[in-house]
């Protein structure tokens, strides 16, 4: 996957979606000074940094960016082989501040459920919102995103692959039949 051939969202559109989400976060918070961005490993962290850069360009604000690993909070651990944990670290105390959770794909909602549990163990945010690059539907829990890059109708048999420049060397979103 070296070019963006066949991508349902190409590299430039991913970039535009990130910029739009950044604008919406600033608008919704009337300036976003207190907001803490928290990415869910792995690509959510990359996206959170990209959103933070966009907000810095728009408003000159340097928002803190944290990273969250939800491996210890999953409800399907016994079905996952050799789970590895990534770092969980948030550079500021989230107590009393609004947090925007960031992930690449929103699907069943179980990852976000786990992330909410993980986040609440780290402090009591004044509010938690959710930003995702792709919402592909098929929720199994009552969770909805606040900021969406693109809604992608998919079938449960399909797989959505998000590639981001800093991790993958290419950028875009693909739908694959598995």
């Amino acid at each position: 996957m070296t070019s963006t051939d066949g991508a349902v969202i190409d590299a430039a559109d991913v970039h535009r979606a990130i910029r739009r989400i950044a604008h919406e976060i600033v608008e919704r918070h009337h300036g976003a000074e207190d907001v803490v961005l928290v990415g869910i490993h792995t690509r959510g962290v990359t996206l959170a940094h990209a959103i933070a850069e966009s907000i810095a360009e728009i408003d000159g604000l340097e928002l803190p960016v944290g990273e969250l690993d939800i491996g210890l909070y999953r409800d399907d651990l016994d079905r996952r082989a050799g789970t590895r944990l990534s770092r969980t670290s948030i550079p500021v105390d989230i107590g009393g501040r609004p947090v925007v959770l960031v992930d690449d794909v929103l699907y069943t909602g179980r990852t976000v459920r786990a992330a909410l549990d993980a986040l609440s163990d780290l402090g009591r945010a004044s509010a938690v919102q959710l930003a995702v690059l792709v919402d592909r539907g098929h929720r199994q829990l009552p969770i909805r995103p606040d900021f969406v890059g693109k809604n992608l109708p998919t079938g449960p048999g399909q797989r959505v692959a998000v590639r981001l420049e800093p991790i993958d060397g290419t950028q875009g979103v693909w739908i694959m039949d598995s």
């Binding site: 690993d69 491996g71 210890l72 909070y73 999953r74 651990l77 016994d78 079905r79 996952r80 082989a81 050799g82 789970t83 590895r84 944990l85 770092r87 969980t88 670290s89 549990d117 993980a118 163990d121 780290l122 402090g123």
Partner: protein, 306 residues
């Protein structure tokens, strides 16, 4: 990894994986709420047939920090006082719902036997003078946190090697991770068969002390007959005890370790036990995280499953 019974033959990648996990658990234990829901619903049983304070407490703390329930078997107040066998006790705890067993027993091989009787993971919490793998793991983890890596470290293990499961576990784990191990003891406290052990032996602490990055002192184990191995305690202290004079001859960056409980004034002088370069309490702290890593790996994500 299905059980953790020994460090012998455990691959470097597996040790590194457990230490990586332990590093995350150190962070969890440092939080305001030092607890995660990962093992909710799982039950960890501790079967300790030998006296132990820190190892059992450390396992139980680790299990609770992962939200597992703990079943504590205490032979002194239980049916083993009525002669129930190890096998029947293990099967009984399994029938009560234990999902993992931590076994400490005076007989070498006890945990291995339990692992053949029950269909759940077994962790060896110390079997006779044979193995104590989680001690080796927490020691390696403590050294990795302190020095960044074990590769090239020169580790001297000093004391009653012959009776020490800590030494046997440590030798294999440390050398697998790239450290050079030297065993220091009078001939009477050396194991009888050391062929094939990845380490060097010496009877002279003063000959090697200047070369060490780590001096690992073992407890003189009176309850395992340690007293019979040397003529007198003062003589042992004079030749193998760590006092200020010997400490001064260590490399300035070298550290002191001890698995506890210490005999202050025997293996280590009373004041050196509290020295900033003694990692003894650090070992205890890291022990909880290291045991969380083992419980997590064995219960939450068995690597052979898909």
């Amino acid at each position: 990894m299905r059980h953790l019974l020994t460090t012998e033959g455990v691959a470097r990648a597996e040790l590194e994986d457990l230490m990586d996990l332990a590093g995350e658990f150190v962070d969890v234990l440092g939080r305001d709420i030092p607890k995660v829901p990962t093992l909710r619903g799982a039950t960890v049983a501790t079967l300790f047939y030998e006296p132990s304070t820190r190892t059992r407490l450390s396992f139980e703390r680790a299990a609770r920090a992962l939200s597992a329930d703990v079943l504590t078997f205490n032979p002194g107040t239980s049916s083993s006082a009525k002669g129930e066998s190890l096998k029947d006790t293990a099967l009984t705890l399994r029938a009560m719902g234990a999902d993992l067993m931590v076994v400490r027993h005076g007989a070498a091989g006890a945990a291995h036997r339990v692992a053949t009787w029950v269909d759940v993971p077994v962790v060896n919490g110390g079997d006779g003078a044979h193995q104590h793998p989680t001690q080796a793991l927490l020691d390696a983890f403590t050294l990795r946190r302190h020095f960044g890596k074990l590769d090239g470290l020169r580790i001297g293990i000093v004391g009653d090697i012959g009776h020490s499961r800590v030494a046997r576990s440590g030798i294999h784990a440390f050398s697998t991770l790239g450290a050079h191990v030297v065993l220091v003891a009078p001939p009477t406290l050396m194991p009888i068969a050391t062929d094939g052990w990845p380490c060097r032996l010496t009877g002279d602490l003063d000959e090697v002390i200047g070369d060490l990055d780590v001096i690992y002192l073992l407890r003189i184990q009176v309850e395992r007959g340690g007293h019979s191995g040397f003529t007198s305690l003062p003589e042992y202290v004079r030749r193998f005890g760590l006092d200020d004079e010997r400490f001064a001859r260590l490399h300035p960056e070298a550290v002191v370790m001890h698995p506890g409980p210490m005999n202050r004034g025997v293996e280590i002088s009373a004041n050196l036990a509290d020295h900033p370069r003694a990692l003894i309490l650090e070992q205890v702290r890291n022990g909880v995280a290291a045991r969380m890593a083992v419980l997590f790996r064995l219960l939450a994500s068995p690597q052979e499953s898909t």
